[in-house]
């Protein structure tokens, strides 16, 4: 394998990894606070993507750059996230983790099929969002999109960390998963905190949708489910509940996928899943996670 192929694959892996990282950020944030795997997270991204599909032409028509439409997508995704939480997740919150998981699965199916009914099952192309050129580095094409994606990811990650560590709401968000009853006693409105978490997580999903569509300009109603699963693998790998872990996990998964595709292209999905299984068995808290023992 030549050096340029190796380097090109590195770039490709970083590109794909950065997108996984963005998606994983939302996932890990919701899990870290509510201790629930939101199966529907990938479908929030799908909704964001469809919103972009419809609003980008409007923006271009109005003479504004295409990426402004992300703000509308953020609003819509956050609204959908809150709606799903209030309608479906809140009633089953107390019923145990199995009910919560099934409800999440059901919401995911619901959103996917709703999108199919509303928008049709045929995939649609999203228009080109960023017209950034490719820079030639060491004889390999480096699309500046990659740098942008990673940059946005780092900014969001830093922003989230500051938010969680320093603001009052952030502290409340850290308190809820540690001990819910004590948080209520301390005067935290747990419902509000959870709703806010969902809103932020879904807003992150919208930004992830933007960068995803910049690289893979196609929306279809079932784009969410596998994406969500891969992002979950990324989040777990890096340490679920740990925000920098999402970035790390995402980039690792992206790199692994691309390099495996070079050698054994028919098996890359299996390898990715095998890694997930390995991590969960060996170190379930992930690379950056801390091991929290189980209380009897």
């Amino acid at each position: 394998m030549t050096f340029s192929l190796f380097f090109q694959s590195l770039i490709n892996g970083l590109n794909q990894g950065a997108i996984y990282a963005l998606i994983a950020l939302g996932y890990t944030m919701v899990y870290g606070i509510i201790r629930m795997i939101n199966f529907a997270h990938g479908d929030f991204i799908m909704i964001g993507a469809y919103t972009l599909f419809y609003t980008i032409p409007m923006m271009i028509h109005a003479g504004m750059p295409a990426w402004i439409s992300v703000f509308l997508a953020v609003v819509i995704c956050a609204a959908v996230g809150v709606l799903v939480e209030v309608i479906a997740y809140k009633p089953v919150r107390r019923a145990g983790s199995m009910s919560a998981l099934i409800t999440a699965l059901a919401m995911s199916l619901f959103l996917e099929n709703l999108a199919m009914v509303l928008f049709g099952a045929k995939p649609h192309n999203v228009q080109k969002i960023f017209d950034l050129p490719s820079v030639n580095v060491l004889g390999v094409a480096l699309p500046l999109n990659v740098i942008l994606t990673i940059g946005i990811g780092v900014v969001m990650m830093a922003g989230l960390q500051i938010f969680i560590k320093s603001t009052k709401i952030g502290k409340a968000m850290r308190a809820v998963p540690q001990d819910r009853d004590a948080s209520i006693l301390a005067g935290i409105n747990v419902n509000k905190v959870i709703t806010m978490t969902f809103a932020i997580g879904s807003a992150l999903a919208a930004v992830a949708a933007l960068m995803y569509c910049a690289k893979y300009p196609r929306v279809t109603n079932d784009m969410g489910s596998m994406m969500g699963l891969k992002a979950f693998i990324a989040a777990v790998l890096g340490g679920i509940g740990v925000i920098p872990g999402a970035m790390l996990g995402g980039i690792l998964v992206g790199l692994i996928e691309i390099y495996v595709k070079l050698f054994a292209p028919g098996w890359y999905e299996a390898i990715t899943y095998a890694i997930l299984i390995m991590i969960l068995l060996v170190k379930p808290s992930g690379i950056l996670g801390k091991n929290v023992g189980e209380k009897v």
């Binding site: 694959s9 649609h124 893979y216 300009p217 595709k261």
Partner: protein, 416 residues
């Protein structure tokens, strides 16, 4: 007691609904049959209509009862839509015409949905069979058609596959036919086109979990090597993949000047985009699965792209012009695709088979179709001993994102 009451009521309700469902579907078929007879009677004498409505299997020998199934829902719903419109058009034309035969589509003139999914296929087939047709038409996907072909062969029912290109379909029995070319043929034609264009280094990316993609890739590689083209890279992907950067980087690294991507329309824009981004400027080619690709917003990427198809809407042959103009007038161009053309031809082929044999029951239709020569939207072709047609292939390209007809290759390899 109350706790028991709810489940008991539910069971009773469910069983009742289940039985009612069976009953109503049996009733529906009777109702559907008569509606179809009423709708297909445009300008004909009352006696033949009455006879068609009450008699099974076209007892009067002049009405051909056809059951049609296809991908009405699912990712390829646009194909099913085209098929539905096309057969409605065909039925109207035939029943208004003077061929001496009438056509009746069972199930109220509607295509039965197979959802593009093999699991639903057998049920679709069974639901058509209960209406007692003389022939069944469909479907577009090989994975859907194979189980049906197996069953149809057992039932000695005529199955005319419209778009299922896997070569095993017609090998299931002597009553199974198709009106499209088969995968090995498309692959061969693609290799021939590459040779004629003078490309020498070919790369292939194919979807590992799809019959169609596998079939075309095997045929292409075999014929490319026979034609002196060097296959420098064979890459895999799956039907659900969205990222092709790894494969396209390797295509560029190996220095190919031609990329063959025999997959379906939904991933084509992504692949072509990825190829162009990776720096590949050579030709990209696909099979009939590219029909209907959405090129909006990425027209530039599609320069120097080609695909083989069953027909081209710009073909100047009278049969094609007639079909295209009539379809566009009635239904617009959104669902005007090869699937529509194939289903349209299928109905006409059954009428031709009836004319050849003189009767409209299944056995006669099978006799009439064996070895039949037919001219339609797909050109002129003859059925060979397996039930496959020897057809020409249209090569299309893109200009400004719109599909444009480039040339037609016939089996002997001459250009038309």
């Amino acid at each position: 007691m109350k706790k028991r009451l709810l489940p008991v009521t539910l069971i009773t309700a469910l069983t009742a609904a289940f039985l009612a469902g069976c009953g109503s579907s049996a009733q529906q078929s009777a109702a559907g049959g008569s509606t179809a007879a009423v709708s297909s009677s445009a300008t004909q004498d009352a006696s033949s209509t009455q006879a068609a409505a009450s008699a099974p299997e076209g007892e009067d020998g002049k009405t051909i009862k056809i059951g049609v199934y296809g991908p009405v829902t699912g990712g390829s719903a646009v194909y099913g839509e085209g098929a539905q419109n096309a057969i409605a058009m065909a039925v109207e034309e035939i029943n208004d015409g003077d061929s001496g035969y009438k056509v009746e589509i069972v199930n109220g003139g509607k295509i039965v949905d197979d959802g593009g999914d093999a699991k639903q296929a057998i049920n679709a087939y069974n639901s058509l069979m209960k209406e007692g047709p003389s022939a069944i038409v469909g479907s577009f996907f090989s994975s859907v058609t194979l189980p049906v072909a197996e069953q149809a062969s057992k039932d000695n029912m005529l199955l005319l596959a419209t778009g299922a290109t896997n070569k095993d379909v017609t090998l299931k029995g002597s009553t199974i036919f198709r009106n499209c070319f088969i995968d090995p043929y498309q692959g061969k034609m693609a290799a021939q086109f590459a040779k004629e264009k003078g490309w020498t280094k070919a790369a292939v990316i194919y979807a590992k979990d799809d019959d169609y993609s596998n079939g075309l890739k095997d045929a292409f590689i075999e014929n490319a090597e026979a034609n002196g083209i060097d296959v420098v890279y064979v890459g895999e992907c799956t039907t659900k993949d969205t990222d092709f950067s790894s494969q396209t980087s390797q295509v560029v690294a190996k220095g190919a000047d031609f990329l063959f991507y025999p997959a379906f329309l939904d991933t084509v824009p992504l692949l072509v985009g990825a190829a162009r981004d990776a720096g590949f400027d050579g030709a990209v080619m696909g099979g009939d699965g590219w029909d209907g690709t959405d090129t909006v917003g990425f027209e530039d990427n599609f320069e120097n792209c080609y695909f083989t198809n069953h027909y081209s809407s710009e073909d100047t042959a009278p049969a094609v012009v007639n079909f295209v103009s009539k379809y566009t007038d009635k239904y617009g161009t959104e669902s005007l695709n090869a699937c529509a053309a194939l289903y349209y031809d299928a109905i006409y082929m059954l009428v031709e088979a009836a004319k050849n044999s003189g009767a409209s029951d299944t056995v006669s239709l099978v006799n009439g179709m064996t070895g039949m020569t037919f001219t339609g939207v797909g050109g002129t072709f003859t059925m060979d001993e397996n039930g496959d047609p020897e057809k020409s292939v249209a090569i299309n390209t893109f200009e400004g994102g719109k599909v444009k007809w480039l040339m037609t290759l016939s089996p002997e390899g001459t250009k038309e």
